[in-house]
């Protein structure tokens, strides 16, 4: 497979941007500067990165409550993301969506989603739309292992299969549906096995190896673009943080957490780049510094931005009706 050094370095940048964004979000949340809930993607960066590195801007993705990584990997702007997390007017959703609903339709990002499993069917609709309009767009549907117990998962795989839609179902199996270990929430170990029931290919890849994810996603996306229909890719990964920030994670064995920390996807790619002389230590340090500066700038943008005027609350429900304001 052709994978240029530039592409590998680009993927490192993306993973690092996600990691730094999320780490800062954790800090800001802990300091009480971000309201609401945040579900962080730390540890799973290789999945969004490896998959989205194969996508064009016009391709679609659907995301989840743990969606920051997908948005960044699809090209989301950190400034508008932070602004949204802060509830500011300049945010992606003018402060009306927050962490769980960041979307950017111009980049094909059909939204993070607060309902587990809701993206599956929307992805099928986007895939149907691409096929209907005769474009070569594809839609990647990201979801966790937990959502594969929702009916929507089965409905969507079935529909995408019978209509041979250009949808790539990417399961981020991080071993837990909230607090429930996968072995307790489903009678299978590999979500990919479920593909058999819908007559589509189902593969398992190491979700902490961005190159492995890239490779599998490339095959699946090429397949979808050429009209051969959907694929289910299961990426075995792990979230370093709890389900949400503030989750005490009493349900996880510290030893298990520690083992997965050893498999950190960013460290692995870093080592690969050094081993193969793609970059030297100082080059990587420079990239890391650039990203840190970008994050600082994005946070400053968010902090300096105004909150929306309260009257904005009644706008954007419909295209043509503005509800009454409180008097």
């Amino acid at each position: 497979m052709d994978l240029s050094n530039e592409k590998v370095i680009q993927m490192y940048r993306t993973m690092k941007r996600i990691r730094e964004f999320e780490s800062k979000a954790a800090e800001l949340f802990a300091e009480g500067r971000i309201p609401g809930f945040v579900h962080l993607y730390i540890g799973e960066e290789a999945v969004a990165t490896g998959v989205c590195a194969n996508l064009k801007e016009s391709d679609y993705i659907t995301s989840t409550h743990r969606g920051h990584g997908h948005i960044i990997a699809k090209g989301g702007d950190l400034k508008y993301m932070f602004a949204e997390l802060f509830g500011k007017e300049t945010g992606y959703c003018k402060g009306k969506g927050g962490s769980m609903h960041i979307a950017d339709a111009d980049r094909g990002i059909l939204g993070a989603n607060g309902i587990v499993g809701a993206g599956h069917n929307i992805a099928v609709g986007a895939g149907l739309s691409a096929k209907y309009r005769g474009t070569d767009q594809v839609c990647v549907c990201f979801f966790g292992d937990g959502s594969t117990n929702q009916g929507t998962f089965h409905e969507a795989l079935n529909m995408a299969s019978i209509w041979k839609l250009p949808v790539i179902f990417v399961c981020e199996n991080n071993l837990y549906g909230i607090s429930m270990h996968q072995s307790r929430h489903q009678a299978i170990q590999d979500v990919a096995d479920r593909a058999v029931a819908y007559n589509i290919p189902g593969v398992v890849v190491d979700g902490n190896d961005v190159l492995a994810v890239y490779e599998a996603a490339k095959e699946a996306i090429d397949r979808a673009r050429s009209g051969q229909g959907p694929t289910l890719i299961e990426c075995k990964t792990y979230r370093h943080r709890g389900h949400f920030e503030g989750d005490p994670t009493i349900y996880r064995d510290p030893e298990e957490v520690n083992e997965w920390l050893q498999k950190d996807p960013i460290i692995r790619l870093r080592e690969f780049m050094l081993d193969n002389n793609l970059l030297a230590e100082e080059d990587i340090k420079k990239i890391d510094e650039e990203i840190a500066a970008e994050i600082e700038e994005a946070i400053k943008f968010a902090e300096d931005s105004p909150f929306p005027p309260v009257e904005a609350a009644v706008e954007d429900i419909y295209t043509d009706i503005v509800e009454e304001v409180r008097r």
């Binding site: 497979m1 072995s183 096995d193 058999v196 593969v203 890849v205 490779e215």
Partner: protein, 331 residues
Amino acid sequence: MKAIGIIANPASGKDIRRLVSHATVVDNNEKVNIVKRIILSAQGCGVDRVFIMPDTFLIGYKAIEDLKISKELKIDVEILNMKIKGNVMDTIRATKIMEEKGVKCLVVLGGDGTNRAVAKSITTTPLIGVSTGTNNVYPEMLEGTVVGMAAGVVATGACSIDQGCKRDKRIEIFKDGQLIDIALVDCVISRQKYVGSKAIWNIKDIDMVIVSRAHPASIGFSTIVGTSLIVGKDDDFGALIHVNSGNKKVRAPIAAGTIEEIRVDEPRILKLDEAVCFKPTYNGIMALDGEREVPFKVGENIEIKITSHGPYRVIVDRILELAQKNGFFET
């Protein structure tokens, strides 16, 4: 004690070849069923103890639980008390523990990759490889019931192991004179730099293939040799072929559902213990039994040999024939 061991790999049969080459999916619940059938038929053929490797899907526990509920389990089945990592090390360690426990036969459910892991640590215990992986050459497609019977014959000493087993060849990889890895069937030298999704299927990156066995009725990279030269499992030689060089073209089934036209030179026979020296001029990776595993760098000192140090393989139909002749099935 007439004991057997069972190693079932929960990760086999799921890799990217499902996507690139229409390969078979083997779900883990079916592996539980196969283990149940092996236990029951081994039990019916005189085995009194079974050891099973623990794994992340709890294949062994699930099999035992079901057989207890159905009241079919009469013998002692024990899950090894070992901490699992959910990777290939589990198989390597379980093999060692089972040999220490004195199992007389080891049954392995998995693909070429799983059997290769067993081969890394097994000594003289006879092995039955049951294919639940992809594109397998080493393990065979065998019904669990028959496997349990063959394991029973071996474990109970109903016939001579020398007659019913054969020691396989293996491919040994050395770096600076140190043995660093092995393969049972093939070693593919590729220009790809990374392990990625492990499985290997792209011909254009490949430089050289070294095989311990090769046959056109097989599948995978060994067939690049096998379509020109047959190397039997029991022949005392292996072979080497260069890919993307030479003047000959062959068509070979390099993956399930994939016949590729490949430019090659004439295969060269490798005698046992004959060293192939490989001094890479590029950074690349060696795929062992179909999985990208061992990266190498420019200028490293690599040596590859075919040896006769592979595992002792039970020849299932032969051992059952011998058992029949010995009256094993008469009760």
